[in-house]
Homo-oligomer: 217 residues x 4
DNA sequence: TAATAATCGAGACGGTACGTCACGTCTTGGA
DNA sequence: TCCAAGACGTGACGTACCGTCTCGATTATTA
């Protein structure tokens, strides 16, 4: 389980006395937040609005979440299908990456785009949320690239010392850039181009270590 | 000259009647904004604080800028040395890109990082600012990559149908990703790895057009 | 109790839920308003100044009052001694009216004058306040004249069909006129003259009904 | 001519050099003020709105008037027919007063009411305007009552020592009271009642001087 | 069964900043 | 000297949310 809410929430030693947390309120809060998000956009998403729509007191929200962004992140994680978390393994780096990149690009170019942009923006002003965002949504995506590239390395499909961290940056960086800067569309052409380019890079990059190895020959 | 302020400001046909704009107020506003930014951070940067520090009325600020972000952007553009706007031309793609990437990475990992993050965040919530940001700061940087890659193409250093737009994404996307997500440092190692990888990609990528050309042989 | 504040405040059926209104804030607001009024005058009385002096948020003031004038009116009503609300009953119309008029004239020529002028001015620009002012402070004063004249009528001291409403106008109209227009002093001479004249009028006025009665003889 | 505008305007020794005052601007300003007054009410009457509507600079308005109220007062005085300034002389006090009171009451209950209320309110916050208002509009009205009552005194229609100042207060005070407080209508019934009552008062009042005279017998 | 304790809704509270309005003053070029 | 245009500093407006704080009521565990 992810660690999005206030610290005390997840305290293992929390005494189980007193009235238990209302699952109904929790559901209504998340539901209301997502409805506001889709109806009026992230700019209209604030604690007062969520509380009013959910028929819940502001205190209850603040008790379990630090900000509206945390609620959205929790909803997003809950909404993410389980299979999305498993890295594809089709046999080739290129098709693996396409399996990863195409759905991501498609989702971000449609419904998920505005939310994702808003959460990243939020993270720039809120270190706690940045941490939560990075270690949940983002790390899951990055991990899949690392796994795919790692397997390609074992197959000898890419140079042996390719940096998997950098590979993840090369995949998600451009996507994020187009999403946030909006200078060009997030479409299929882009997805194919991005994967082709990255695969070529992974196969032929001359890293410092490689150059050192060749020099030693 | 950049086009950051309200539309009417830059109207070419604007008649020269009425009291002229106070250059002193303009200077004080920009100066105060940058001081607050460096002292207390972007979160503390608001119109009231700028007006108070600059000894200026809020109305005067609103007359010429739409938000504090526009002031910062204007200051950044004014601060940007002229030579930064000229793409390097050292003879090889790799050294050209290094000339571009290393100073950028260095600046973003130090003083410029927080400001840049804040402006990108701001752009996600303000379409007008996003437009201004994209067409000034961002397009200038992207243009340099396009120029450098274009020259490499003419030299035959990279495949003839490489997409310069995508090249710019491959360079700045990962930088932006690390800056915004903070999962890994923006250091020299990253700069070299990014350039090496991108150069390899540009040289060996098999694009659709290239594959078609080869198939025709 | 008077009905000066927002409508919902005095709702009888208001449920006793939520944090109760802070009596301390209420007291501080009224106190601060009166202090500003006496120190700097009505022109300096604004919501921001009251809030600052009372150590209270503007929102709290707006929650319970519509404007600074309402606060002053509430303070005035609270400050009004109970016995002032009871019409004098000395046995003759003249001495009753003197009991009413002299303290009023004295108060208005001194401390109360500026406040009263300001509230009447306020009422001309704010229909809600005009209503509150008329039905609280003003109607109380008018009612006393009506009561005094009514008793004089029963005693046969004045003509039987004298209009008590008009009588109240004849008493307070000239006082108000001198207060607002400032063409002549509000002094004892004026008070005696006003009462003498009004008593004479009440005793000898030939109203339409009276003329009709005489004509029937 | 009245003395409403800034002091320098009426300076006798004013040098006649430079561009002369624009009669067209003056007309447009007064016209615009009255239009705004009738269209949107006194609350909407401000210097910026007048200047904009009149196609005039704010400076020009401030050069000749101290506030919007002065403009309105000037317009009102210019609009007042000459014959209104001559006290009626019909032979009896009652019909003289009716000639005075009925048109006044009628005008105030219709078009003139809101403007008059607003000007009186304005006078409470602006001593200079209060002075101008009192010595122009108000004194003219009061003077007519004084003249009418003075003639009645000479005819022996009223007691010889009746106070003409007080008489004027007794007439205009109640009118003003009803206008400002709005507790009862300004109608014909009120006008007749007011005049009847005042006439009775003037005929039968026992003033201090009269009582002293009687006591000497 | 009662005491204890945490949660809930409602909503008032102090606080910060917003973006706007109108004020009265000023600085241009032109009449 | 006046005029229009319009920028300027000043001050207050009324609103939006923030995150916190009482309330009384509710719902569990613990004694």
């Amino acid at each position: 389980m992810t660690d999005l809410a206030n610290a005390e929430t997840n305290s293992v030693t929390r005494p189980r006395v007193g009235r238990p947390r209302s699952v109904e309120s929790r559901r209504a809060i998340i539901q209301s937040a997502m409805t506001i998000l889709q109806t009026d956009g992230y700019a209209a998403l604030n604690i007062e609005a969520i509380a009013a729509k959910a028929g819940v007191s502001k205190q209850t929200i603040y008790r379990w979440w630090n900000s509206a962004a945390f609620i959205v992140l929790e909803a997003l994680l809950a909404d993410m299908p389980a299979q999305e978390s498993i890295a594809p393994d089709t046999g080739t780096l290129k098709s693996d990456l396409l399996e990863l990149v195409r759905p991501t690009v498609r989702a971000l170019s449609q419904r998920r785009g505005p939310v994702f942009k808003a959460l990243i923006a939020e993270a720039q002003a809120d270190a706690r949320f940045a941490e939560a965002f990075r270690t949940s949504l983002m790390s899951a995506h990055r991990e899949m690239v690392r796994a795919v590239v790692g397997r390609a390395k074992l197959r000898g499909e890419v140079v042996f010392d390719v940096d998997e961290e950098l590979a993840a940056d090369m995949i998600f960086g451009p996507i994020l850039f187009r999403l946030l800067n909006g200078h060009a569309p997030l479409d299929e052409t882009f997805a194919f181009g991005l994967v082709d380019t990255t695969v070529a890079a992974m196969r032929f990059v001359e890293t410092g270590m490689r150059r050192a190895a060749e020099a030693a020959e």
